[in-house]
């Protein structure tokens, strides 16, 4: 039997546009993009040039410092374009599909008999090592360090997040195979967290060789960082590894069938998605393929079209990639919301504003707990000094003082950051603080700066 952890603090943002649990489209993308920015702190070295032929599983990127860490192409085809940004920073590698689905040959050992070293070598060579993240910092782990344990979240609580019980229900065999492989990597075992409400009905409940925990609570209860904090917190000097359930599937497929197969089921969601549902596709897919989901609307008072923001990921942590952007490697969700680039006369003083959502009772949204909102990207105010207190704590179900941690980061006080818990959080864990902040502070950016500073100071 497992332990049950109930989290009282948190917030489920009632956003419109939850995906219906059915797959309405299967997409074999004509082109995909590999984005170095998907991998935190990856110092990318380009391994291909425009015009090169690649197969699914051919490395296209490696890390400059640790060249054994590779990122591979999800499809077979030709490198069509290398997109660079300011200061020649590498942004995307666009690969055009040849529709042959040729695979790079990978020899996989039998996970039952393979040693830890053999498994690590196979993961590194296949490019799937980059699926793993380490805590602290959320970066790609160093294969030389054995982690205290491995943590996987079995549910996602982010706004409109995909239902993993649905997206993974056909993948139990791959999941189990992935777990078998991962269990060789750490003595501390594999910890899977499931939501208390569908604990027993989840397909992941039947997995073997894992330690299952049940969590109950609002977002961010599904964040692996929050779960680690309650199961076995990361102390100074300790390392744990985390990965997404979807990545366990990739590893499982590799060891079961010897293929680099990144097919996944992705939820297309949001108030501006016409028929929110699931699609089957590959990471790096171009958003042109899901154009049909965009719900064209006119602005009420003006006749111009109301622009849509295309987010790869969820509204709290995802990337604004634009209508021609690409799905991120780790993102199992696309969210379409309205841009909020309009003025509202005396908006802050209007007593009702029933279309606005607020956690605070200065609006009336708390009277309608079941109502779903069509929220847009308007900041709803100007950036100010930190004035209100006790707001962040309400959405941070951890024994951490977010305000004090943020201030320590702003002061670049490394000792204080360490003492106040910088090892236990990454950006996504404090994303809700950013949502609720009345002073409109960019908290995720501050946390990100803090983590970069820690990496620099500790190396």
């Amino acid at each position: 039997m497992s332990d049950h952890i109930r989290l009282r603090r948190g917030l489920d943002i009632p956003l419109k546009g939850e995906a219906k649990t059915q797959i309405t489209k299967t997409i074999s993308p004509d082109s995909v993009a590999v984005k170095p920015a998907d991998y935190k702190a990856l110092n990318a070295r380009l391994l291909v040039k425009e015009g090169d032929k690649v197969k699914a599983g051919t490395p296209v990127l490696s890390d400059k410092k640790s060249p054994y860490i590779k990122i591979c192409s999800p499809i077979s085809g030709t490198v069509a374009q290398i997109v660079r940004g300011e200061k020649r920073r590498l942004l995307e590698i666009i690969i055009e599909s040849d529709n042959n689905n040729e695979q790079e040959e990978i020899t996989v050992p039998n996970p039952k008999s393979a040693s830890r070293e053999e498994i690590i070598e196979t993961l590194l060579n296949s490019g799937l090592w980059a699926c793993l993240k380490q805590r602290p910092y959320g970066t790609i782990p160093d294969p030389g360090i054995e982690p205290k344990a491995i943590f996987i979240s079995g549910f996602d609580t982010a706004p409109l997040a995909p239902n993993l019980d649905f997206t993974l229900k056909g993948e139990i065999e791959s999941l189990q195979s992935g777990i078998d492989v991962l269990s060789k990597l750490s003595q501390g075992g594999i910890h899977i967290s499931l939501h208390a409400s569908n604990y027993a009905s989840s397909p992941m409940h039947r997995l073997d060789k894992v330690i299952i925990h049940s969590f109950d609570g609002k977002h961010p209860a599904g964040n692996v960082g929050v779960q680690i904090h309650h199961i076995s917190p990361v102390n100074k000097g300790e390392t744990v590894w985390t990965l997404d359930m979807q990545c366990v599937v990739y590893i499982g497929r590799l060891f079961l069938k010897g293929v680099y197969d990144l097919r996944k089921i992705v939820a297309v969601t949001g108030p501006r998605a016409k028929h929110p549902a699931y699609i089957e596709t590959l990471p790096g897919m171009n958003f042109k393929e899901i154009k049909g989901f965009a719900d064209i609307q006119k602005r009420e008072e003006y006749s111009e079209e109301l622009p849509i923001r295309y987010i790869s990921g969820n509204v709290l942590t995802g990337d604004n990639v634009g209508a021609n952007g690409h799905l991120g490697f780790f993102h199992n969700q696309v969210t379409l919301i309205s841009e909020g680039n309009y003025y509202e006369m005396l908006g802050w003083v209007k007593p009702f504003r029933l279309r606005k959502f607020s956690i605070s009772r200065s609006y009336f949204s708390w009277l309608f707990p079941k109502k779903k909102y069509s929220l847009d990207t308007n900041v709803n105010g100007g950036e100010r000094a930190l004035v209100m207190t006790g707001v962040y704590e309400k959405v941070t179900p951890m024994d951490i003082y977010p305000m004090h941690l943020i201030k320590a980061i702003l002061a670049e006080d490394v000792d204080k950051m360490e003492q106040l818990g910088i090892y236990e959080v990454i950006e996504e864990d404090l994303a809700l603080c950013e949502f609720v902040c009345p002073s409109k502070t960019e908290i995720q950016e501050i946390v990100s700066n803090g983590i970069q500073l820690m990496i620099k100071e500790m190396s």
């Binding site: 003025y343 802050w348 200065s362 900041v379 105010g381 100010r384 000094a385 004035v387 004090h404 009345p438």
Partner: protein
């Protein structure tokens, strides 16, 4: 609406950086964002944001202050009528109060906002909304007899020395409104205490009725004189600073603040609890028929206790910032008020000094609370 928007858009370049009046861009921005919620969209981080902002927050506090303000206006006229034994009607009392109180509000906002705008301009910041509340608080905690130039000077002192030198809203150590009061209190004591300051006209020697004392209940209690009934003090039919007299009106404001969650209920409850427990304890050991033996609950409705607990102690910038710290901070304010009132012969009221003192110690309280969290984290490492 669209016409106004077009007009604002038309004059905007003049006030933007590089424009003819570019140096006024903070001022322009303040007025523009006052009229329109800006069209800025999220660029980094979370793509959607909560609808609350500081303008909304501050507006709620001002709404919560309205009952105390309205009552204060009426009570100014009512007290004046009592003192002069006039036969003013309700409307005359309100009118008298308006004539006295409105200029205070205007001076407070005029001087304070003027300095705020100027300093935002110098820094190139956006104008912060914090002063909207401070500017309303200051006239409510001053005696109505205070000459307006003294009020103006106090406001200027509070905004410059109490706030801007620390870096503006969010950075100050002491509650700016109380800094204004403290300044006036120590600079012009004869206008801030005694028997005549609290009722309009008395300082100017306008007819006072024989046997009438304009002293506050606190001063009477300290001098061993009779105090008004609990009910009168609760309703606020007593002399005192403009907005502080009616505990009932203050509680109406408290309901708004607690319902919206803008002010910390922990601080409010703990200030009242601290005051009540301390006074009850002193009641138990007090010799009979002394000030110390005054039943404890009277302290909660006298002077600025309720007003301070609800509107001043809860200022999030100067209060304790940790949830545990808030309990300690509030309780100690309540405790100190009673101690100052009962054992300090100098001045009858203790709320202002108690809050300012605890403002000073709030960072220390937070330090202790946060340090415990740090210790917990370190101990965790040792166990495993």
């Amino acid at each position: 609406m669209k016409a106004l928007r077009n007009f604002v858009d038309k004059i905007k370049p003049t006030f933007s950086k590089g424009g003819k009046l570019g140096f006024l861009h903070s001022t322009f921005d303040a007025f523009e964002t006052f009229l329109f919620v800006p069209n800025t969209v999220t660029k980094k981080g979370a793509h959607i944001r909560d609808s609350i902002d500081l303008k909304r927050t501050m507006t709620i506090v001002i709404i919560a202050l309205v009952p105390a303000l309205l009552f204060g206006i009426w009570n100014t006229g009512y007290q004046h009528n009592l003192a002069t034994e006039g036969d003013m009607t309700f409307m005359q009392m309100v009118l008298h109060g308006l004539i006295k109180v409105l200029p205070m509000v205007i001076i407070s906002y005029g001087v304070g906002l003027g300095i705020e705008f100027a300093s935002a301009q110098i820094r190139g910041h956006e104008v912060n909304e914090g002063y909207l509340v401070t500017g309303m608080l200051i006239p409510l905690i001053m005696p109505v007899g205070l000459p307006l130039w003294m009020l103006a000077l106090s406001v200027a002192f509070a905004v410059i020395v109490g706030k801007e030198v620390f870096g503006g809203t969010g950075m100050n150590i002491w509650n700016p409104a109380l800094v204004a009061r403290a300044f006036a209190f120590f600079a012009y004591p004869s206008y801030m205490s005694g028997d005549k300051a609290w009722i309009s006209g008395l300082l100017k020697g306008e007819g006072i009725v024989d046997g009438f004392s304009g002293a506050t209940p606190l001063a009477n209690a300290q001098a061993g004189l009779e105090i008004p009934s609990f009910q009168d003090m609760f309703l606020g039919l007593i002399p005192g600073s403009v907005g502080e007299t009616s505990t009932l009106a203050v509680l109406l404001g408290a309901i708004i603040l607690l319902y919206t969650g803008i002010a910390s209920w922990k601080i409010m409850v703990s200030v009242f609890a601290g005051g009540l427990f301390t006074a009850l304890f002193i009641n138990m050991i007090a010799p009979p028929d002394t000030y110390m033996a005054l039943p404890a609950w009277n302290h909660l409705v006298m002077g600025g206790f309720a007003f301070g607990a609800v509107f001043m102690a809860t200022d999030p910038v100067t209060a304790s910032q940790t949830e545990r710290g808030k309990w300690i901070y509030g309780f100690l304010i309540g405790f100190l008020v009673i101690i100052i009132r009962l054992f300090n012969p100098g001045y009858p009221e203790g709320m202002m000094l108690a809050i300012l003192l605890m403002n000073t110690f709030a960072p220390t309280i937070d330090y202790v609370v946060v340090q415990r969290n740090i210790k917990r984290r370190l101990n965790r490492a040792i166990i495993k």
